[in-house]
Structures are given as C-alpha cells and as structure tokens.
C-alpha cells in the first residue's frame, strides 16, 4: 500500500522529527510513503479567524498537491479534521467542490489510518513509562476519532497509561486564540498540566503538535518535568528494532525490511 504524507506546516517548520517518526512508523508497518512536495498548509488558521478567502487559497493548493494520491495520511487530528469536515463546506458551490470532497474522503489521521484502514492496533511496541493521553478537540469532536490512539497506546508494552481527569476539556490552544486571548489560553493549559501532574504522568501524549506546543511550552515555562510527546514519536521509538529486543518479544511482522532506524540514536522524547 502506498500513502502520501501530509506532514502539516507546523510539523514541517517546527517539529520535523514528528514527520520523520511518522514516515518510519508507516514504513515499518509495510506501507510505502511518498511526500508530495507542493503541500503547504490546510488553511485552518485563516478559516477559524474568519478569513475564508485566504483559507480557500491555501486549501486549493493543498488539494492540487495531493491530486495524484490514493491515501493521504497526516499526524494531526486538527488539520485532518479541517480537510475532512470543512473542505466540503469551504468549497460548496466552488469549481473545486468535487476535488475537495474527494480529497476529504481519502485523507486520514495517522492513528485512524493505522487502526481503521490497516486494521492494526497492536504494533508490538515497547516504551517504558507512565503516560496520559490528551484527547485533542478537533480530532475527537470534529473528526470523530476517539478510540484509535488509545487502542494503540494500550497495546504498548511497558507503558502505563493513566486517564487524564477532565480529558474532554480543551487545552486552550485554539489557533489564534492562543495569542489573541493569551492569558485565558494559558489558564486553560495550566489546568490541563495540573491534571496530568495529578495522575503522576511522565509523558503527556497527543496527536496534535499544536496542543503539545502549547502544553509543552507552558509546562517548560512553569519548570514542570512532564514531557510532551506526539503519538507518532512514541510509537516509532517503541517499535525500533532495539526496543523490540529489549521487550523480548518477536516482531510480529512489525518491522519492515530496509528499515534503518537502528542507525539513528534513540533520543529523549520530544523536549519541546
């Protein structure tokens, strides 16, 4: 199977290691990955701020960039929700309406793709530590993807997954909201970080780098020791061949030939 990576502009510009992890993870699952070079941004910041013409401009370019792809997979619940949920609305009555709908139908969030399309929820990963998962709003409510990331995490050996209290509450990122109403946005992050600390989590795992940039940035400013990590990074690090040996289990078809992850140094999880 072949998929096109939609890396998202935030990961491309700020957190390239999450994109790298996504590619390596997908390859390890036996998926061929390409990267259409003309992709930039889904347009969500403009859309949510009320600049729908600018959003449409960015969106039209993205639709074009992925015109030849069969599956599009992105490591962001929010950006994928923008495409699946809002592109058909944004292009209603527009010459690109058909293309927008087709693009929406073939685009998947990473964990959604792994669980629902590939049909795998146990990647035979090993990642020691105590973690809690932040359910990002657009991914759960907009996209309707709730269980896939949790199923993947529950099957990670060595990982103690604890519930995050008030997990339905937004972290406070909210796009331009984060700078337009910075103090309010920060108050929301503070409560989220408090909850993660309450349950003694070492890792705060998420499927959206925007939330994690916000939460990690606030945690660091507060001097908290909690580490934020994207699900793709955790799963990629957890499925590296050396980790599989540590866990003592055979790689149940998880590692694909030609994977050279062993040559990369295992680094500490996303210190943002």
């Amino acid at each position: 199977m072949r998929v096109s990576l939609f890396v998202t502009c935030l990961i491309d510009a700020m957190y390239p290691q999450v994109g790298v992890s996504t590619v390596k993870l997908l390859r390890r699952l036996g998926v061929e990955v390409d990267f259409p070079k003309d992709q930039v941004c889904c347009g969500q910041p403009a859309m949510n701020s009320g600049y729908h013409d600018a959003a449409r401009e960015a969106a039209a370019a993205l639709i074009k960039a992925f015109a030849g792809s069969e599956y599009v997979v992105g490591p962001s619940g929010s950006c994928v929700s923008m495409i699946r949920h809002y592109y058909p609305v944004l292009f209603k009555g527009h010459p690109l309406e058909k293309e927008a709908k087709a693009f929406a139908a073939k685009t998947f969030e990473l964990s959604q793709f792994i669980v629902e399309v590939l049909g795998k929820d146990d990647l035979n990963a090993h990642f020691p530590g105590r973690a809690t998962y932040h359910t990002s709003c657009h991914m759960t409510r907009g996209l309707g993807v709730v269980d896939p990331p949790l199923r993947l995490l529950r099957n990670v050996r060595g990982l103690e997954l604890v519930d995050l209290p008030h997990r339905e509450d937004c972290c406070g990122f909210g796009g331009t909201f984060a700078v337009k109403m910075a103090d309010l946005s920060t108050a929301m992050a503070d409560e989220k970080i408090d909850h993660a600390s309450e349950v003694g989590a070492e890792y705060l795992v998420g499927s959206d780098m925007a939330c994690l940039m916000h939460l990690g940035g606030r945690a660091e400013r507060r001097g908290e020791s909690i580490k934020v990590i994207h699900l793709a990074e955790l799963l990629e690090q957890g499925t590296r061949p050396e980790r599989l040996e540590e866990s003592g289990g055979p790689a149940r078809g998880a590692a694909a030939p030609g994977d050279s992850a062993a040559s990369t140094r295992a680094k500490g999880a996303g210190r943002l």
Binding site: A54, C170, T176, F177, L184, R221
Partner: protein, 474 residues
C-alpha cells in the same frame, strides 16, 4: 464591546480566584448531573435530533405559531402585546403596571427581563420589584447581573452570600446553606403575599393551548403565577412549541441538560389567567412577546441560534466559561450561546469581538440538546466581522500574506529559510526570548522553540537517514 474591554473583563475574572473556584465547582456539579442523566437513555442523540427538528420546524413557521399562540391566549381571557425592541417591551410593562395600579412586583426568573433592563425602569416609576428566584434574589441584593442562564448567582461562593444576607439581616450569619435559604424564604414569603403583580419569564409557550410553561426548583414560579392579582409573562418570540405533547420531549431534554434532573421540582403549565370556576389565580394576564432583534436572525445563516432552549449545558461544558464565568462576556447571555447571541442581538460590528472568546473546541455542540452548531457559528460571526472590515489592519495583512504564502510552495520554502535568519535576534539557546507581536503574546507565558535547522521537507530531500533529523537544531 471593544477588544480591550473584553480582555480587561477576562483579566479581571482570571485574577478572581474565588470566582473561578465557585464556577468550577458549580459547573462540575451540573456536568456530572447531565452525564448521569443522559446515560439513562439508549439513544440520547436520537432524542437530540428529534428535538432539533421540532425546534427547526417551529422557527421556520414562527409566524404561524405566534398567531396561533396569540389567538389561544386571547380565547383563554389573556391579553397579548407585541414588543419590537427592548424599550418598547419596557414601555408595555410600565403601562400595564400603571393601569392596574401596581406597587409591588414579585418576579420569577426571566432572562428576557435582564435583556431589556426591566427592573430599573419599574423602580423609577416607584414600584418595588423583588426577584424571587434565590439566585436572582442574591444578585439583586449584590446589584449584579446574572452570570449563568440557569444559575444566575453561580459565581458567588457561600461566603459571598453569607456576607450579603448578614448585611440584610443586620446580624452576622453562618455560611451554612439552611439558615441562609431561611432568610430568603422568610423575606420572600411576605413579598409573594404583598405583590399585586407577578412577572415571569417563559420556558415554552404552547401554541395550541395558549399556555405558558415554567420550569423551576424552588416553587417560586408557582407563587408568582398564583398569588398576585395581575400576571405578566415576558417571552422571546422564539420560545414556542407547537403542541402540548412537544413539551414532553423538550422538557425531558431541558432539565437533564441543565441540571441532570429527570424533571425539576416544579413544572408549571398555566393559561396565565384565572379560568372560570377556579378559586385562585390572577384576574388579569398579559403576555408580552418580544422581538428585540430576533426577527433579523430569522431566515439567515444564524437562524439555528433561535433553536436554543436555554438549558445552559454549553456554559457548563465550556472550558472558557469555566475559567472566566459569565460576566466577562459583557451582556446577559454568556458562554458559547452568549458569544453567538450577543453579537447577533447587539450587532456584530460592535460586539463581534465576543466571538473570539472561544478555542472552538466544539464541546458546546456535543452537549447542546437541540444540536446548535455553536462552534461553526462562532467562526461564522468572525467571518462576518472580518467581511465588515472590523478586524485590525495588521491582522488583515497577516492573513493576506498567509493566503499568498500558503498557496505557493516555492515562496513558503523561501519564507522558512528567511524565518531562520529573521529569528536570530530573538533566540537564545534554542528558545525565543522575545518576539514581535502577535508572537510576543505567546512568548509572554509559554516557551517557544526556535525554528530547527532543517524543515521536514529539507530532511526528506536529503533522505531521512542522512542524520539530519536527530536534533531539532536546538
């Protein structure tokens, strides 16, 4: 309300730890109740959809149902008045009060009376106006406005209330709930008996019977509609259900969504006026149907906002409301529904900024018993505001640039490289130490990593295993 004004209100709320604690506590209780109550149904969402359809049908045929309602009320012996706006509505109630020689008014909870600032106008006419809903009574004593649709004094702690009541009684009172409610009970009992006019709001008016429905937990609604000789009911023109049997569905959703109760302690359905052969009830009943901008929303993009049944569930679930309470929103309606209704009722040009007070998390839509897409409406209001030219020039420029860059991969690539150079004066040890606006607002409270040496696309170009991906270049 200007951007500076709303930011100031938010700041004030964020600094008030007592308020935030009270709001968290109350909304957690409401949330828990709602979750338990909705879980009793196999298919809560199917009920929501049915209710949405009832509301949408009613709003789409509002002219028909208003006429039907008015005809039935008149047949029952009541009077019907139509008010175009707030001042018209106030004028109508003042005239009714003057006509009947009213000196004391007992009020049960009515959001629309807050909307039109009724109490103040009546008091200027020398009429004593007393709120009889406990929450409303508390905020009337405090000289405040409601901070929540169903819990107007929800922002007040027990200590706040004890202070208020101690002042009223002229002696220090303990902060226990029973003695405090006793104070209100004793004082309000006299008001109920003394009042010559009762003013109520209206949860639902039933078009086919001409009756009005009040949902309360304190029984004050029943006192107000049965003891005074004159009754006035104020209702927004959208607050109608076609048939009595529609109440079954909507009340089931309303009380569960609001407090998690299967039914509130009192549900009153009354024709307003004393019917033939009845021993008590008002001699005269006046129904005031208020437009106040509602008709301008009909038939437009935001029509579904009129489907609201005022349960407050969107306030209780809202992570923004949770931290700032209701007053920060600047007008009578708060939370997500307030952030939508306020600009619509008061004008997007002046009040559009309220719609920025949302992270667009969509929790409001999830809990809305009539499925109003509030998060999409907030975006719609932002868009309308931008189209009306109300956004800042600098912001318009940013998004013009955004559209240009994000639709041109080559330009985007160049901008990334330029960004790595441009950030240098602001970066130390891989973190932004300062930044130009609007990024400065981020850096003020949160750390922000600098742009890494290579973007993902540059790493991809060189091959993922070329060793570039290790660090973030920090």
């Amino acid at each position: 309300m200007s951007k500076a004004a709303i930011l100031e209100r938010i700041d004030e709320a964020l600094r008030n730890e007592r308020l935030r604690r009270a709001v968290r506590k109350a909304t957690d209780t409401f949330r828990g109740g709602r979750t338990r109550a909705t879980a009793e149904f196999d298919d809560w969402d199917a009920l929501r959809e049915k209710a949405r359809q009832v509301r949408a049908h009613t709003i789409q045929h509002l002219d028909y149902y208003i006429e039907q309602l008015a005809a039935r009320v008149r047949e029952n012996g009541g009077h019907v008045h139509f008010a175009e706006d707030a001042s018209h509505a106030v004028e109508i109630v003042r005239r009714i009060a003057a006509y009947h020689g009213v000196r004391t008014v007992a009020k049960s909870k009515s959001m629309i009376s807050e909307e039109i600032h009724l109490n103040h106008a009546l008091e200027q006419d020398g009429i004593e106006v007393i709120e009889t809903d406990l929450g409303e009574y508390i905020i009337q004593l405090a000289g405040e406005t409601p901070s929540h649709i169903i819990g107007p004094a929800l922002h007040k702690s027990r200590e706040d209330i004890a202070e208020l009541f101690s002042k009223l009684e002229g002696e220090p009172l303990a902060t226990d709930t029973p003695p405090l409610t006793q104070v209100a009970r004793k004082r309000l009992r006299d008001i109920f008996l003394k009042a010559d006019m009762g003013i109520t709001g209206c949860n639902f008016a039933v078009a086919e019977t001409g009756s009005i429905t009040l949902v309360t937990n304190e029984g004050n609604g029943r006192m107000v509609t049965s003891l005074p000789r004159v009754q006035v009911t104020l209702m927004g023109m959208e607050r109608i259900v076609p048939r009595l049997e529609d109440l079954d569905l909507l009340l089931a959703l309303l009380t569960r969504s609001a407090t998690g109760q299967r039914a509130t302690s009192y549900i009153t359905v009354t024709p307003g006026v004393r019917m033939e052969g009845e021993k008590d009830g008002p001699e005269a009943f006046h129904l005031v149907i208020v437009d106040n901008q509602r008709s301008s929303i009909l038939g437009g993009e935001f029509e579904e906002a009129l489907n609201c049944i005022r349960c407050g569930a969107c306030l209780n679930i809202c992570p923004v409301y949770r931290h700032i309470g209701g007053h920060a929103y600047g007008w009578v309606y708060s939370g997500p529904i307030g952030a939508v209704l306020t600009p619509l009722y008061k004008g997007i040009e002046e009040w559009g900024e309220v719609a920025q007070a949302s992270s667009l998390c969509g929790a409001c839509y999830d809990v809305c018993p009539v499925k109003i897409p509030l998060h999409d409406m907030l975006v719609g209001i932002r868009r309308t505001s931008v189209q009306a030219g109300r956004s800042k020039r600098s912001e318009r420029l940013i998004f013009k640039g955004f559209g240009f860059v994000m639709s041109r991969p080559g330009v985007y690539r160049t901008m990334l490289k330029a960004g790595r150079l441009a950030q240098l004066p602001f970066v130390r040890k891989g973190r932004f130490k300062s930044a130009p606006p609007p990024l400065s607002e981020w850096v003020r409270t949160r750390s922000l990593p600098s742009l890494p040496k290579r973007s993902f696309r540059e790493i991809w170009d060189k091959g993922l295993d070329a060793g570039e991906e290790r660090g973030r270049g920090v």
